[in-house]
């Protein structure tokens, strides 16, 4: 119903013929399909590499933050400052600062590839979010679990590794995947450094044709990548709920 209203309002808008020509051009659409999907593979690559780095790095940050006692205060403080900093700075600024700033230093041995620094920026920003997700998971495991593990003579680290983390990680998989959906979209920001990924490629196509349809193609590609992940998240949440109900029904 709502969709019908939107369609009617939009298609009767005075500017609609013009918008249709600029955004929904069949010929440009077909041409874009020949180049943009290839550029989109760069987004997929950025996403996969970043994800593989974020998962362990964010876990490390979360573990640092959970270390007990005054001895580890500097490490805990580092983890807190890190998470505050990189959740506070807009992602696009981190990408600009690292992507343009570091190569400009001209240090020998330091990569100047913008793709490299784009990935580093995304890893830094998203690890800050994901470490908080992990931390929520670690804190959701009841202290009696750690007590039981420690009472068997396991060290804090072993209790964490064998008892607390396996339960914590399992619980945070859905919110973790949710953050990765955000990461998938933000791979487009790396294009601002000059890396030719889908967004950058569609800008090029668009300038060449004076038409915005290439952006539509890119949007469709992003959605096509996001939907499976979103459904996977839903499925995992539903599965956990089913398991909880099953466990509750047969004590």
């Amino acid at each position: 119903m709502f969709a019908v209203v939107v369609v009617l309002v939009v298609s009767n808008a005075p500017g609609w013929p013009e918008v249709r020509r600029l955004f929904f051009n069949g010929a440009v659409f077909r041409d874009s399909l020949e180049v943009i999907p290839e550029a989109f593979l760069v987004n997929v690559k950025i996403f996969l590499i970043a994800e593989a780095l974020i998962l362990p790095f964010a876990l490390l940050i979360a573990i640092l933050r959970s270390l007990p006692g005054p001895v580890f205060f500097p490490l805990r403080a580092f983890a807190v400052v890190y998470a505050d900093l990189f959740r506070g700075i807009p992602t696009i600024l981190v990408i600009y600062l690292l992507g343009f700033g570091v190569p400009a230093l001209g240090l020998s041995g330091v990569p100047i590839d913008p793709l490299f620094w784009g990935v580093v920026a995304l890893v830094l920003v998203y690890s800050a979010y994901v470490s908080e997700v992990y931390r929520a998971g670690i804190e959701s495991v009841h202290p009696s679990q750690e007590a039981a593990a420690r009472s068997l003579g396991l060290s804090h680290w072993k209790a964490l590794r064998f008892v607390v983390l396996p339960q914590a990680v399992r619980r945070v998989i859905p919110p973790l995947l949710n953050d990765f959906i955000g990461l998938q979209k933000d791979t487009a920001l790396v294009g601002l450094l000059g890396v030719v990924e889908a967004f950058r490629q569609s800008t090029i196509e668009s300038s060449a044709t004076f038409n915005f349809t290439p952006y539509l193609v890119t949007a469709i590609l992003f959605v096509a990548l996001t939907i499976p992940l979103a459904r996977l998240t839903d499925w995992l949440v539903a599965r956990d709920r089913r398991r909880q109900l099953a466990a509750g029904a047969t004590p």
């Binding site: 009696s144 679990q145 007590a147 039981a148 593990a149 420690r150 009472s151 068997l152 003579g153 396991l154 060290s155 072993k158 064998f162 008892v163 396996p166 339960q167 399992r170 466990a247 047969t250 004590p251």
Partner: protein, 250 residues
């Protein structure tokens, strides 16, 4: 030559913030002795056990296990805990591991035994307590009584010299209490040294060599079970036991 006590608590104090929970506990356990701690909720029974296991740090006094002062600041707490088994009221099994893994985690990761050796011993122990066919199950498939028996086996797998039992039947449905108490009885008969916090008065009477009545952080009265239950000297002990009798628990 007198035999060395298995466990000695000397003038143990413990507070949580401003709340003083233990106010000078003195207690000796001989080897193979079973001592039951009774007393109202909040009298400090659980805290006392957790202090022995070093899950809580005491503020004053000392705890000596088999001749070693375990509350000394230089002591490796992990080594101490490997010598003491503790079983909790809420079982605290690891829900993401099956029964066998629950039992072998301590021996493999704490004692450094090989997996095969630990599993062999675990299966033998599980068999002894009628749990052999549950080795592959996850805790949420077991009844409360079975879970608590697994928790006892998990503690025993460390071959402890002392067992601490913290109201291990309080979270169980009444019909499941007996199977757990039978296991503890078997341990006592096997000569295990045990310090047991319990609300099961008839069980305490049955199994304990000595009963200590804890009241507001001190051991107000201790003695043989017959004396404590039949002729308690302290008015507070009398009151407590009267309430228990009135509740039909003795």
């Amino acid at each position: 030559m007198t035999k060395m006590p298995a466990l000695v608590l000397e003038n143990v104090y413990k507070s949580f913030g401003k709340h003083e929970v233990l106010k000078g506990i003195d207690l000796d356990l001989a080897a193979h002795e079973v001592v039951c701690l009774i007393g109202a909720s909040g009298s400090g029974k659980s805290t006392l056990l957790r202090c022995v296991n070093l899950l809580e740090q005491i503020d004053e006094g000392r705890v000596v296990l088999g001749g070693d002062e375990i509350t000394a600041p230089t002591v490796d707490v992990n080594r101490v805990r490997r010598r003491i088994g503790i079983v909790f009221q809420a079982f605290n099994l690891f829900p993401h591991m099956n029964v066998l893994r629950n039992v072998t985690l301590g021996p493999t990761q704490g004692l450094g035994k090989s997996r095969t050796e630990a599993e062999e011993e675990a299966l033998e122990l599980l068999g002894r307590f009628g749990l052999a066919d549950r080795a592959g199950d996850y805790p949420d498939r077991l009844s409360g009584g079975q879970q608590q028996r697994v928790a006892i086996v998990r503690a025993l797998a460390m071959q402890p010299e002392l067992m601490l039992l913290d109201e291990v039947t309080s979270a169980l449905d009444p019909e499941l209490v007996a199977e757990v108490l039978n296991v503890i009885r078997e341990l006592a008969e096997g000569g295990m040294t045990m310090l047991i916090a319990t609300h099961e008065m008839s069980f305490a009477r049955d199994i304990a060599g000595r009963v200590c009545f804890l009241d507001e952080g001190v051991i107000l009265e201790e003695g043989e079970p017959e004396q404590i239950f039949r002729a308690p000297r302290e008015p507070r002990t009398q009151q407590f036991l009267q309430r228990i009798v009135a509740a039909g628990r003795l």
